[in-house]
């Protein structure tokens, strides 16, 4: 009994002021994933890595857009999205107060336009992702393969295949070995 009272006196007040004062969190704490819509190119790497499918990237064929959506109600704050993002467009902040009054507010959606094939006009990939690929390819100008890839970067997979076959035909003709 005496020990207990002594311990109580020694401890003093252990209560913290939260929620009336902010709660201090360590600097690497994993909280709400913050999405940077400008850096993001809708490549879907995060959607593939996300264990609870909180991030989803469905295509809208009517509007020719790709949606990037996150549902904070599903998020488990594992940070796999941050890890796999090629453009650092998603970073886990220490923010942890995510309660909302309406369930719909837990969801955030960004809309990205799709690139139309310059040959046939069908939509095939997010414009920003195509731009990103083009930018990387243009940095390797001494590489012949990269140059060819850059020429066909705005072609849909079918047209790209066609272009490749034609190019191969040209090359073979030049070499004089017709198959």
């Amino acid at each position: 009994m005496f020990k207990t009272i002594k311990e109580v006196l020694r401890t003093g007040n252990a209560t913290v002021k939260y929620p009336f004062a902010p709660l201090e969190r360590p600097k690497d704490a994993r909280g709400k994933p913050e999405h940077d819509a400008v850096k993001c190119m809708a490549c879907s790497a995060c959607a593939v890595a996300c264990p609870p499918n909180a991030i989803q990237t469905p295509l809208d064929f009517e509007a020719n857009t790709k949606l990037w959506s996150i549902n904070y109600g599903r998020c488990v704050f594992c940070g796999r999205c941050e890890e796999v993002c090629p453009t650092n467009a998603i970073i886990l902040s220490p923010e942890f107060e995510l309660a909302v009054m309406s369930k719909a507010d837990l969801e955030e959606i960004c809309v990205y336009s799709l690139q139309a094939c310059v040959e046939c006009g069908s939509y095939f990939a997010p414009t920003k992702q195509v731009d990103y690929v083009a930018r990387i390819l243009s940095q390797n100008l001494n590489d012949e393969e990269a140059e060819h890839a850059l020429e066909s970067v705005r072609l849909c997979p079918q047209c790209k295949q066609k272009a490749d076959v034609l190019r191969f035909k040209e090359q073979s003709k030049k070499a004089g070995e017709w198959l």
Binding site: T4, E7, R10, P26, P52
Partner: protein, 581 residues
């Protein structure tokens, strides 16, 4: 290990030789699924005697029973009895019994080795295989209103999202009691009850104040994790699901899962990652043991102690948050290593935390043990007899409180524990006090271990990403969670998913012997006894699909009424129940 090297035998081979000699012709095939894990295919009719021999004659303990629907692979079902051999030649011995797909029958091992009873009941529920001669044939996992003939884990039975309509509104689960000729009163407790945070239904058969026998039923909040992992998750995202099996030992589950894949596929984990895993496993033990020490104060009516334990526990939560980025669900495990390193400044901060925890917890433990009321409530209460412990293979502080040095960290060393030279703490008193003291010792030792591991952790990479996998290989892996051994068994399929994942949480092994711990105590000790195994309902209930919802409430009150009319002399049971529990 040294024995096997001298005689040029593989790890576990001595057990194979012994059963081959004892049961000629019973062993069909032997294979090593991992370095220290031998799988013995046996003639089904010989399995019960063979497992009995391994269990009792060669100091085996039951780890888990796994059912598997292997019809797409080889046309049969299979039941795996995983035994942890903890005497000579420590290893995992898995006895595999093939079950024909047309009869679906196999010979029950329960009459020979009582420890397998829950495992076999679960296999009956989930796969529809019949254990011939099983002594307890009741449902374990499936609710009373589940349609007959629908076996959730069969590959061709159902989608993981399917919720069948209830087929009955009567509770037909039979509670068992061995009360002899004595007239007893039945006190129902739960599924929703003020003393427990999670649902479980207990029936205490009492004579006056004394508990004569007890029976209980779990699995009220099934989450269907195994089915979900097999059908929806990819094998590399399962660690994050495994971490959510339990709110306390989540990290232990996630390590156990990734280690099954690593062992089965021979993936090497960098040494630094192994050290980090052990450090975090011990951090988890810190907060879990403080939680249980707090609860034991609470159950014995010493609520000041409870609050102080939780205040100090908060420090261990802060430590975890600083090291991993989250208070719980650390999320640092991937197959092949960990995602987050421990930096020099974090190491220093950790050492400071450890010092504070040691001093503060030291005060509190001294305070608890000098509280006469606590000693009176804990000493000689909830005896787990050594024979019962041996028969039912309980784990963690529960079995160590009864004098058995079972601890996965030292029986089958893994990760950073390979580099620590220690043995398990035990107490011989077999009671609540013994189990509490084991936790106190382990808590203090965890503090020392963390600083040793921090000191000795080698520098280097923390994640190995260059590996490939071969489908349909499997292995088991155990981690010593604060409450005992978490054991996972996983087989990857050829579609980026787990073909079968079986997660056994520590409390699953501790429920079956609980009945014997109740006997001979008074009603007021019941909560204390349940608390002393540090139960985790959610751990146990990770398997099936449906929850019973409001029906339970209705059925229970009818049952309560029935009980009252059967024992008319006594006051209404509901009142008794609330008064004492």
């Amino acid at each position: 290990m040294s024995d096997t090297a001298n005689t040029n035998l593989k790890t576990g081979e001595s057990h194979v030789k012994a059963v081959q000699e004892r049961f000629p012709g019973a062993v069909l095939n032997t294979a090593w699924s991992a370095e220290d894990q031998v799988v013995i295919d046996v003639v089904p009719s010989k399995a019960p005697e063979l497992i009995e021999h391994l269990y009792y004659e060669r100091y085996g303990w039951l780890s888990v029973v796994v059912g598997n629907d292997e019809r797409p692979l080889n046309g049969h079902y299979a039941v795996y009895y995983v035994l942890s051999m903890e005497g000579e030649d420590p290893s995992y011995c898995t006895v595999r019994v093939q079950v024909p797909a047309d009869t679906c029958e196999f010979y029950s091992v329960t009459p020979k080795v009582p420890a397998v009873v829950w495992g076999e009941r679960e296999v009956q529920d989930m796969f529809g295989l019949k254990a011939l001669g099983i002594t307890d044939n009741r449902n374990l996992v499936l609710p009373d209103d589940w349609p007959a003939g629908l076996y959730p884990l069969r590959k061709d039975s159902m989608d993981y999202r399917y919720r069948p309509e209830p087929v009955s509104d009567v509770e037909n689960y039979e509670f068992l009691s061995e009360t002899g000729d004595r007239e007893t009163t039945v006190i129902p407790m739960g599924p929703l009850h003020i003393t427990s945070d999670e649902p479980g239904h207990f029936r205490l058969f009492v004579e006056g104040e004394d508990i004569i026998d007890a029976d209980y039923r779990m699995f009220y909040v099934h989450r269907g994790m195994e089915k979900c992992a097999e059908s929806r998750m990819n094998y590399d995202t399962v660690p994050f699901l495994a971490e959510r099996i339990c709110g306390i030992c989540g990290f232990a589950h996630s390590v156990a899962y990734v280690a099954t894949i690593e062992r089965a596929q021979g993936i090497e984990v960098p040494p630094r990652a192994q050290y980090i895993r052990s450090i975090l496993l011990e951090t988890e033990r810190l907060h879990s043991h403080l939680l249980n020490l707090g609860l034991v104060c609470h159950f014995s009516g010493f609520d000041t102690g409870f609050h102080h334990m939780f205040r100090v526990r908060e420090k261990s939560m802060d430590l975890a948050e600083m090291l991993t980025g989250a208070r719980k669900t650390y999320g640092v495990n991937l197959i092949g290593g960990v995602r987050r390193d421990i930096l020099a400044e974090q190491k220093l901060a950790t050492l400071k935390f450890l010092d504070e925890l040691r001093t503060e917890a030291g005060y509190l433990v001294e305070e608890l043990l000098s509280t006469p009321n606590f000693i009176k409530r804990a000493k000689g209460v909830g005896i787990l007899d050594k024979k019962i412990a041996r028969d039912y293979s309980p784990v963690g502080p529960t079995v160590r409180g009864s004098g058995f040095a079972r601890d996965a960290r030292w029986c089958h060393p893994y990760d950073g524990y390979k580099h620590l030279n220690r043995s398990a703490f035990t107490q011989d008193t077999c009671d609540v006090l013994g189990r509490t003291l084991v936790r106190v010792d382990e808590f203090m030792d965890s503090l020392t271990m963390i600083s040793e591991l921090l000191e000795n952790a080698p520098a280097g990479p923390i994640l190995n990403e260059s590996w490939t996998y071969e489908p349909h290989r499997y292995a088991v892996s155990a981690t010593e969670a604060p409450r005992g051994e978490d054991l996972h068994w996983a087989m990857i399929g050829d579609n980026q998913k787990c073909y079968r994942w079986r997660a056994k949480a520590s409390t699953y092994s501790n429920w079956p012997p609980l009945r014997y711990m109740f006997r001979g105590n008074t009603i007021s000790d019941a909560a204390m006894i349940v608390g002393s195994i540090d139960p985790c309902y959610s751990c146990t209930e990770r398997v099936a699909i449906v929850d019973i919802k409001s029906k339970t409430q209705q059925v229970l009150s009818r049952q309560q009424l029935e009980d009252y009319s059967r024992n008319r002399k006594h006051s209404p049971l509901e009142k008794r129940g609330t008064r004492y529990l």
